[in-house]
Subunit: 438 residues, 4 copies
């Protein structure tokens, strides 16, 4: 690798975490940070807090904590701002979400009550199952400006030196990249003309990126994965990442598929169904929003399995993904997969996976890691797409001309080697022939 | 990496595949090779036959087949020899094993009938559930010599230029490395004294290694993972690998555990049970043989999860492995796993995996790959432990002072980067920062 | 019970089995009968062939075979006639269905080839995913007459003394009982006016019932469960039964739900999903046909659980049924259920059931039993709805004013006690207090 | 039925519930009763509290609550006494058991703290994994007398008019009925001689039965299923029932097996494994205690399937039951079953059931129902074995010469028809031919 490591500014001062959407994910994240600071819980699932990075040779046993290896913002420097189309404060929203135990929420009550969401830029055409009662009014341009004003005022009030925005709102209806998204100039014009085809999520990202604030997209919406936004991010030196937090079933899929591929076992079919009963489940009960999610969920197998290179193994794969709203479960999602595989001489085998997971519990540490790593990237002078954060996302963004990496282990390697590169450490290849030929 | 690539002798002439044990795995392997040569099936699951290796940058799309990238023996150059304590020829043994469809076996009948096993070096103390009726007689030393004579005669008869031995026999009772195993001199002396503690499997390996023939151990037996054998392998320039083919449940475990570890999800318990009804199941119904297998199966989680580095996540893990002989299933093993995990703030989740697999179907391509890669290693001048073949094994051997890699994806990376290194290609690190900073 | 047992005519002569639909179920049934007659298989799943009935006290051990207790037609007296909108004979259709092994079908080839379907009364509006190429032409009245002619000619040709018709065709689109179905007169008029709302399945049943031939409905179609047909059946003394063969998942549901109910465990949710890849799966991929099936599948829990009597336990039950067309599986359906139950003080528990079943293998013995029992009912002078055959059906028909019994064990008791009643034996109540008070 | 209904004494005054063993089951039961009385929970799972009984014809819709149909003791008339080898009171024991939420236990604290166990008659030879610290001393005879004194004193103190004893203690090691058990005289002699082969559980039952107090056995121990005890029960007019509460996996087995049998589907194998982490799991980790449980669990399939009558379907069934101590789960047991079935022509299918249950939650309502029904039986003048309570038990006791009924639905019918008989109502047969022949 010839690229020299970047120089990285220190993480001094407060870091504002800006969260469009104050629902199950955001409140689990915020309440979790408070609980961790008070010693009531541990940040399980977070690489930035608990992860280690191996340096040097296997025999050296040099494996520092990531947070002691790279300069990250400290948890007690975080301050939280949020928007929502429902006026509940974070305490009320956390109780409604039903993810964390009421006794824990009660202990954090005053901290959570202090987080009152700003009005949302909401348009029901984009989220048909929700009814906004706490919304901004105005043209698309005006809405973007109001969001920007919310940000500016919050930074001033808190004295935060830096900010990061992580979309934790709902899945919008399916849209495709069009002429309004094709360039920054076209987008600016669309905003000026109050073009209704511009999704609300874009307005939040626009407000952040114009201020050079990093942005990550936790939903499968079309937001920063359009040319206009990438142009803007490069102009303002803002790192971006997206899209769609990789949590339950898709996480499992990007763990298992690389394993089957590694062993060159063929796959005839992969059937995935989900039952969940939270707001997310209700929103996805709308076929338009489900379409957006489905595209994101279906995409992962292609680049892991590369059927064009392995047609005998993967070209006939029948991949089906279902999501069913099932209220008895609340936030405790369950994903059931059936995988029809075949081996030596074509003999058939089956794998079934039942994952009793918790959506927001899996998403919260991703919000934290994306926030801290995007802030690191910003301080390291990195801008635009941060492919090394693919690890956290169902539909990772990549530079034009590259195929995305969905294999969780290639993503992990990329993330870890990026950290090593940032700090001037040797890349790890797992060759290790030197141990035997010394 | 400073090690220069080796020079590799061409794969000319016939390659003898020597198989102690002519049961389900061996017959599925041999019949499969014949079926593939006759166009009746495809070598699914074999990297040497179907795998590709990515070279250079992601944008170059250079992904040749492995068998066109490194010089491997061709399938039609393989000849098969075997030993078994039952006198059935490969046709009879394949029918009894019940793995392949009788109609397929019928088509290969004459080829299979020609493979008549040599008498085995068998000692019932080491495999209590089997009753040998087709056995050699003599002291330990004499048995080793008889095996050697079988090999020499076979090479002469077939004109094979090279040979590889792959243990496909049963799991022996649990034994630990002792003074007889501590050095080659001690082992020689034990053979001379007809020491009954020397397991039959060691006699086969001894016969192979003294001839410089590579050896891989498909069972969890203590065989080449003792100082005496490694000394011998280094002396005669024989590559060795072991031990215990990584097939169903443990394969799944070394796929899934790295994924959970990557995401820093904690694990409280991992319960694994297996039902199988083949000869393997019957042998493992003996507590002594099960002990050998259990140790092998339990070992994998430790170095993947590294509880010493992640005590909050993995130090309380309760790991239980059961195997139950269940005749209704025959060779169609079923592995059921329950994994109790926890995430953000300690919230509990569960994963259940039901793997309806086929033991010998998964093992057969491993036999093939180990044979061809060990032969490649031999021609490349590599000797002793071939850690890069860990990918195929439940309990990979490593040089003293190193911990084994059980993570399937580190193993895959090691294997692929070893092939790249052998051919003088650049190592892949998945950093990829150059795409974005060009 | 005061009703006197009926007198039963003997089962002499041939019995014609008339099957609308010559697909997977019909061919598995017909080929199975031939295989059984030739000693190539056993009629597993058939009460008429393998079942026994307990008579008298537990201590008497009097448990004759049903077929030796009641006078049933013998398997070698059966002759088969069928209609299909595809011209394949039973041999070709059986191969396409992919249920039975080709080697078995080959052995029965000449018998199966002799069964050439008559042209079907087909209307694509009622089965949108199929394309009929082997169809009758004419008005609804004319089609019914042509079906009748097929029957008359077949009885004449084979010399059969009796006949039974069992619908084994596809699921039609959802329709509701309307004015055309309200009386026999209205139906006659609708036929005369070539009313297109009359489903093809009704034409087959009409042709059978006008001849006094018993009819059972294996699909969830609206056919004999309309007043017009019941009027006709009573007029012509034809027994009828329906509807929808109770095979995989619903069978399991009517086994398990009575057990949970018996123990008074509450149920919050029951999620059922199915994957199947046969023609049935393809037809049900059409939302209109699925609706018909869904109504049938959802109905079973109500009368088993009686939420009106047990509101604390069952009134909030969320019941969801999905069917997904998944080609990799063919006829080997898989049903996965998740059941959220609660016990003492409301504590939650879960049950998951994965049923790897075979649709036609489960349906074939039902066809046989319904045919033989309906023929018995006819000879016993029973007419109209045969509720005692509910045991075999997802949506059992009952007399107006009665609720249907879905509990498989009440259905079994009803069937067995009906057989006892027919032969003048004592009813079984399982009281048994006399054993202890003698 | 010629037996006249009994006359039943009213349920006036207090009823003492005597519980050997104050562990998870007892405390969940006692705390549950208190919670129900305070309106903090509902007696889900209890027929005596929530069940109804259908009377007369289906059209009459006469389905009173059982507790309004037969005269049962009221919940607020219950008083609780218990013995345990650990001195914890019911509050402490409930917290340790970890079944109920601490917040609920806290609300019931004073009521629970008042229940202080009496010292136990404990012998470690019979429960090898437990260490008693709160035990009586003396010969077998003396221990039985001390237990009797505890009972007498408790009845006097509480003023209870009646009592019932339900064994809720641990599973003892496997023992077989021997000469000491063969008659009451032999047992008396064994007590006099301090025969160490007499299990502690027998001493409790002896103390109860000599006082005419009904006894039910919730564990698989050999206790009242010996001739000596039945002789005693008949002498003192004490009703008895046993043995082994039918809760999780076995409950499921006696639901499912009757369904498969009803449909005449064959079964090749039934593999059952359990993971649980409570004290029960720890006790059963001892092979001797497991043996006792295993015999009880294995017995159920025989009389449900009757392989002697259905040899083609059930004579080759391979039945395997495993229990694994798995601490991560605590009282939340999980049972996984795989069932290999076959249908028409022998084609194979599979059923897998995963039951995430809660042992004590399922057992508590059984304790309640057995207590109230045994008290009813006593007041109705019934004595000795109460076969109609088989519904609640894994290994139901029956009169000599009868086979036990394990089919849950026959058991339910027997229970319900017994209640109908007691109150002079018509037996239900599910024939229902009169609806159609009126």
């Amino acid at each position: 690798m010839t690229q020299a490591p970047p120089s990285i500014a220190p993480a001094s001062g407060k870091l504002a975490i800006l969260l469009p959407g104050l629902g199950a994910v955001s409140t689990t994240f915020i309440a979790g940070i408070e609980a961790i600071l008070q010693g009531l819980g541990r940040p399980i699932g977070s690489l930035t807090q608990m992860g280690r990075v191996r340096l040097g040779k296997r025999t050296e046993m040099k494996v520092p904590l990531i947070k002691e290896f790279v300069p990250l913002a400290s948890l007690d420097d975080l301050v939280f701002g949020s928007w929502d189309c429902v006026p509940d404060n974070a305490y009320e929203a956390a109780l409604k979400a039903g993810v964390l135990e009421p006794t824990l929420i009660e202990k954090l009550r005053s901290k959570l009550e202090a987080i009152q969401p700003w009005t949302a830029a909401f348009d029901q055409k984009f989220v048909q199952k929700l009814h906004g009662t706490h919304c901004k009014r105005g043209t698309r341009r005006a809405l973007a400006e109001q969001i920007g004003n919310d940000i500016d005022a919050f930074l001033k009030k808190t004295g935060a030196s830096r900010a990061v925005m992580i979309w934790c709102g709902s899945t919008e209806v399916f849209t495709q990249s069009g002429p309004h998204h094709a360039s920054l100039a076209a987008l600016e014009k669309a905003l000026d003309h109050d073009e209704q085809a511009i999704a609300p999520s874009i307005l939040y990202a626009y407000a952040a990126l114009t201020r050079g604030i990093p942005y990550a997209n936790g939903a499968p919406n079309l937001t920063v994965d359009i040319p206009a936004m990438q142009e803007l991010a490069n102009q303002t030196h803002a790192p971006i990442a997206g899209k769609d937090f990789k949590t339950g079933q898709t996480l499992m899929k990007t763990i298992l598929a690389p394993g089957l591929r590694a062993r060159h076992l063929g796959i005839r079919g992969w059937y995935s169904t989900n039952i969940l009963g939270n707001r997310d489940g209700e929103v996805l009960d709308d076929p338009q929003s489900f379409k957006t999610k489905e595209v994101s969920k279906l995409s992962v197998l292609g680049t892991i399995l590369q059927p064009e290179l392995n047609p005998e193994l993967y070209s006939d794969l029948y991949h089906k993904v279902c999501i069913n709203y099932y209220p008895p479960r609340g936030d405790n999602k369950e994903g059931w997969d059936n995988i029809d595989i075949f081996g030596w001489l074509g003999y058939a085998m089956q794998i079934k996976i039942d994952f009793l997971c918790r959506d927001s519990i899996l998403a919260a540490p991703i919000v934290l890691d994306l926030a801290l790593f995007l802030d690191l990237a910003k301080r390291a002078g990195l801008k635009g797409i941060q492919e090394w954060l693919s690890f956290y996302l169902k539909s990772p963004m990549v530079k034009e001309g590259l195929y995305p990496e969905h294999n969780l282990f290639h993503q992990e390697m990329k993330l870890m080697n990026t950290l090593r590169w940032m700090m001037g450490e040797t890349q790890i290849t797992h060759l290790g022939i030197d141990y035997y030929q010394a």
